[in-house]
Structures are given as structure tokens and as C-alpha cells.
């Protein structure tokens, strides 16, 4: 599974960099509503993957590393909204998001490192808060609960 992670990470980073999604101007041209690039890209990515995932789930695809394919469909909770609002503000100010920040650094832009460090700080501050409050984090449907999965996957 570690190799799978490395390969998929590499392909993901490759597409992000090839699409210049690590570039402040690409993001801001879209957020200024002057360019369709990011909207079109995300729309097509969803448009391609949503029907395929639906089909694979319907056929109860047995995945080699993660059991039968199961899609997550969590109910909307308050934290999705205010977390999303904070994320959107940061996205606009820093002009990058988590994966593109890494690609930015990889493309030679040294300030990408500042964004990566900031992301680490922000994510860990919240993670520590959650651990201290002993609340089970609802990971949302983008990040599957990492701990149990890690163990299953790590055993392979």
C-alpha cells in the first residue's frame, strides 16, 4: 500500500504541477472570476469520477487493499460550514491549497515552504485541540478516518 500511496501521490502532484495549480495566478484568476480554469478542472474531475464511483459501488467492487468499495455520505454538520469558510479564506489569502503548496515547493518556489509550514501548523493546532477534547473527529468524506485504516493497511 505504501507504494500505491507513493505512485498515486506522484501522479496527483504531476497533474497539479502540469496544470499550474500551484501557481498563485492560476488560483487567483479563477477566484477573481476572470478565468474558468479551476472551476472547469474540478467540475470535470467530479463529472468523470462521480458516475464511475457510483457504478463501482453498485457492483460492490472488492478493492485489493481496502475491502469492498464503500462511499461516504455524511450529513451536513456545523463544522463543515465554518471549517469550509476558514479554509476558503486561507485558500484565497495564501493562494494555494495543501497539495498544490507541495507542488509549488517542488517546482522551485521557495515561498511554497512557508505555505507548507503554515499548513502543518494550522492542521496540527486543530488536531491537538481535538485530541485534548477527546472528541472523535468526523473526518468528513474527504479524509477517511485515518487511524484504523492505517492499521489495516499497514498490516499488508
Amino acid at each position: 500500500m505504501n507504494l500505491v500511496g507513493l505512485v498515486f501521490g506522484a501522479m496527483f502532484g504531476f497533474v497539479l504541477a502540469a496544470g499550474q495549480l500551484h501557481d498563485y495566478d492560476t488560483i487567483h484568476a479563477t477566484l477573481r472570476l476572470e478565468s474558468f480554469y479551476v472551476f472547469g478542472l474540478m467540475g470535470l474531475a467530479i463529472g468523470i469520477s462521480a458516475p464511475l464511483l457510483w457504478l463501482l459501488e453498485k457492483r460492490q467492487l472488492a478493492t485489493p487493499y481496502g475491502g469492498v468499495l464503500s462511499l461516504a455520505r455524511s450529513k451536513i454538520e456545523r463544522h463543515h460550514i465554518y471549517g469550509g469558510a476558514l479554509f476558503g479564506a486561507g485558500w484565497s489569502i495564501a493562494g494555494t491549497c495543501p497539495a498544490p503548496a507541495l507542488a509549488m515547493l517542488a517546482s522551485g518556489a521557495s515561498y511554497g515552504a512557508i505555505a507548507v509550514v503554515g499548513l502543518f501548523i494550522g492542521l496540527m493546532v486543530r488536531d491537538q485541540q481535538l485530541e485534548r477534547s477527546n472528541k472523535l473527529i468526523t473526518e468528513g468524506d474527504g479524509e477517511r478516518s485515518t487511524l484504523p485504516m492505517t492499521k489495516t493497511l499497514g498490516a499488508r
Partner: protein
Amino acid sequence: MGLLPNQLPWWIAGPLLGLLVVGLFAVSNQPLGASGAYVQTIKTVRRDSDSVSWRVFYFVGIFIGGAVATILGPGIEFRRGYTALHAAGWSEPFIMIVVLLGAIVMGYGARVAGGCTSGHGICGTAQRSPASWAATATFMATAVIVTFLLTSFTALGDITPAVAK
């Protein structure tokens, strides 16, 4: 090396991303989210977890893939980045602080919401998750509003993003 164009058209990069999302689900039943990879990576560095998560390898992979695409495309050019902020006449320390604070808010928000642009914005929406659609709509709208404020009230408004439409 110029083997790749400077920027792939969105109608090529978008479907490629979509296929990657489906691919990772088909192999491992996992979403292609990036913010979780940050959390796992720092936990591994701090030795908080017993085993090294595959997401750490995924994290490293994003960096490698980004470098490879840049080498095949425009070539790696060592620079500071954020040309628009420099063009707006902001001082070096101010830009650093803006980027750092922006990234901290973004990271915090991503952990509160449970995902980022890849996790909620593409993988969650593709799973038809109401939570992800709500988070995505919220961060999209907020980002557009904050960008509007930035271009209205700061020197950024005088800068035109240098990018193909």
C-alpha cells in the same frame, strides 16, 4: 524540458484528476485527500503513531510528481514565487507573514471541516456526500468573497493575474 506545455488545458487535467480519484478508490477504497496526508506526515515525524501511514508516502509522492512535471514542462526555476504579491509592492516580510497566516488559517479550517480542495472538493463531492458539497460550496464562496475584498481594498487589485484564460 518542454515536453509538456506550460499548462495543461483544464479539460485534460480535470479528467486525469477524476481518473486518479477513481483509481485510488478502486485500489484501496480511500479518498485522494491531501490534508490528511499532512496530519499523518507530521505524526510520523513526531513519532506519534506506531506505523508509518501510506499517506506519508503519498505526501512525498506529491512532491516528487510536482518536480517531475515541472522538469518535463517549463523546467525547475529557483525563485520565491508569489510574483503577484511582489508586483503589488508588498514588502518581503509582509508577504511571508501573509502567506504563513493564510496557510495557518487554511490548515486549521481544513481540519475543522474534515477535508480540503482535494478531499472535500473533488473526492467528497464525487462520492455524492452532502457534507462535502456543503463544505465545498462554502469554501468556494468564501474564497471568491475574500478575493474580491483583497482586490478591492489592497494593491492586489492593480495586478492582473498573468495566466491564460
